[in-house]
């Protein structure tokens, strides 16, 4: 009999999040971010948290909301443009920032979830990123040792999810969500559509429910677009 992960809503989902914790948040830019949980974190007013997220949202949306409330002590990200308040807090020293290559960030989350404490990658060799890290040559090429990342809570956003916590993401909204789901001690999934067990094809699931501790039907997803680029009707592709 499958293990139910359903909680009543975002309040129950986010219970237990405390000041000073390390949180992972899925998404790339504003695409595939856990909007409901971010709202709740703002409401809860948790402080001094470390956020692991590829980006930091934009001013006034996504993680930008936590930033403007000075709730974040440290960000671990790969790209933090598009956010003036972020830049201000970083340059003034209010916010600690650890910038790491995007591929290393993804792989470090996966490693954290997969019980691999460390691995070697060529990314960042010879740059600031390599400072203080072990360098070793493999096949005549220098690599640096990167360590696993885990989090007290991981917040992910999926398209469909079932009661057992199995998740399917849509298009490029998948991005960091599957790895962060693996790496959270407690992983919370908010989904656009929550379905009974048996409705998802077991062959089509992206994140197995074993990685998810709590799941709920998200509400009023805004799904904001950062760069709306279009071509006119009847234009050649």
């Amino acid at each position: 009999m499958s293990i139910s992960k359903v909680v009543s809503g975002v309040e129950e989902a986010c219970s237990g999040v405390e000041d000073g914790m390390t949180l992972m948040l899925g998404g790339f830019g504003l695409c595939g971010i856990p909007e409901n949980c971010i709202e709740q974190l703002v409401k809860l007013g948790v402080k001094e948290v470390t956020c692991i997220s590829n980006n930091a949202g934009i001013d006034g949306f996504g993680l930008g909301k936590l930033l403007s409330g000075h709730q974040i002590r440290k960000m671990i990200s790969s790209y933090v443009g598009e956010n003036e308040e972020f830049e201000r807090q970083m340059l003034s020293g209010e916010l600690e920032v650890d910038l790491i290559p995007q591929g290393s960030l993804a792989e470090r989350c996966r490693a954290g979830g997969a019980g691999i404490p460390a691995f070697y990658t060529p990314a960042g060799y010879g740059t600031e990123v390599a400072e203080g890290k072990e360098v070793r040559e493999f096949n005549g090429k220098p690599h640096i040792l990167e360590s696993a990342l885990t989090a007290d809570f991981a917040f992910v956003k999926a398209w469909k999810g079932d009661v057992a916590g199995n998740l399917i993401f849509k298009a490029t909204a998948r991005n960091f969500n599957p790895m962060m789901a693996m790496a959270g001690k407690i992983t919370i999934a908010e989904v656009e559509e929550l379905v009974p067990v048996g409705e998802l094809d077991p062959n089509e699931i992206h994140t197995p429910g074993i990685f998810v501790q709590r799941i709920f039907q998200g509400l009023s997803f805004e799904k904001r677009i950062e760069q709306r680029t279009v071509r006119p009707l009847n234009s050649p592709s």
């Binding site: 990314a123 909204a173 599957p178 950062e226 760069q227």
Partner: protein, 217 residues
């Protein structure tokens, strides 16, 4: 002298049939518009799509379908979506044949800087460090000089590096240059640009052969 689309057109000539190509933000993105018709090429965007198509028809844009520049896009027939770990497995594992990206500085030993100006601008490296550390073919697309008129092709980079000894070719508004043996090698001139103009705009060591053909675009 080339404009941005001119640079993109010239870089499109670097693309070979059957290649998977990653295009960075800015000028590199334009390369997709200039690929020779009928060529089998697929564009990878490191946020999680292979087989990226053009921008969507107005009204059909989807917040869940974007490229690494956060622009709304479409998917071509045969496209596939994947997570970020798989995306960088493709990149780190050298399954992507060509990476085109912009730069603030390139040095004559192939170093590249494009992610940080200390004390001023820190947007982050995004996927650039993974891309330059692993790609077999890295082409930099950029203006030859910065807004202050200073050369961006230097003996050594002054800004924090993105990668070391990785850039093989640079295409600017003035020229195509290869990097080998610690020097820039002038390969082609942009239409109407003299060799002397290129020499003047290049701060790093520049090897100029006796004959420098003009680009054919």
């Amino acid at each position: 002298m080339l404009d941005k689309n001119g640079i993109a057109t010239r870089i499109a000539q670097e693309v070979r049939d059957g290649w998977y190509v990653n295009l960075g933000i800015g000028i590199p993105t334009l390369v997709a518009n200039h690929i020779q018709k009928g060529m089998e090429v697929e564009f990878q965007s490191e946020n999680g799509i292979l087989g990226m198509g053009p921008f969507p028809i107005e009204g059909s844009e989807d917040a869940d379908l974007i490229n690494a520049g956060k622009q709304t896009i479409t998917a071509m027939p045969g496209a596939v979506y994947f997570d970020s770990a798989t995306s960088f497995a493709m990149i780190r594992g050298r399954h992507v044949q060509l990476t085109v990206l912009g730069a603030m500085e390139v040095s004559s030993n192939g170093d590249i800087a494009n992610w940080k100006i200390p004390g001023k601008m820190v947007k982050g490296m995004g996927g650039a460090m993974d891309l330059v550390a692993s790609a077999d073919n890295i082409v930099v697309a950029m203006m030859h000089t910065n807004r202050a008129g200073e050369s961006k092709l230097l003996p050594t980079c002054s800004l924090p590096l993105t990668g070391v000894g990785c850039v093989k070719r640079v295409v600017t508004n003035l020229a195509v240059l290869d990097i080998k043996d610690g020097a820039f090698h002038l390969i082609e001139r942009a239409p109407g640009v003299s060799v002397q103009e290129i020499i003047d705009a290049t701060a790093g060591e520049l090897i100029v052969p006796s004959d420098v053909p003009e680009m054919t675009l």
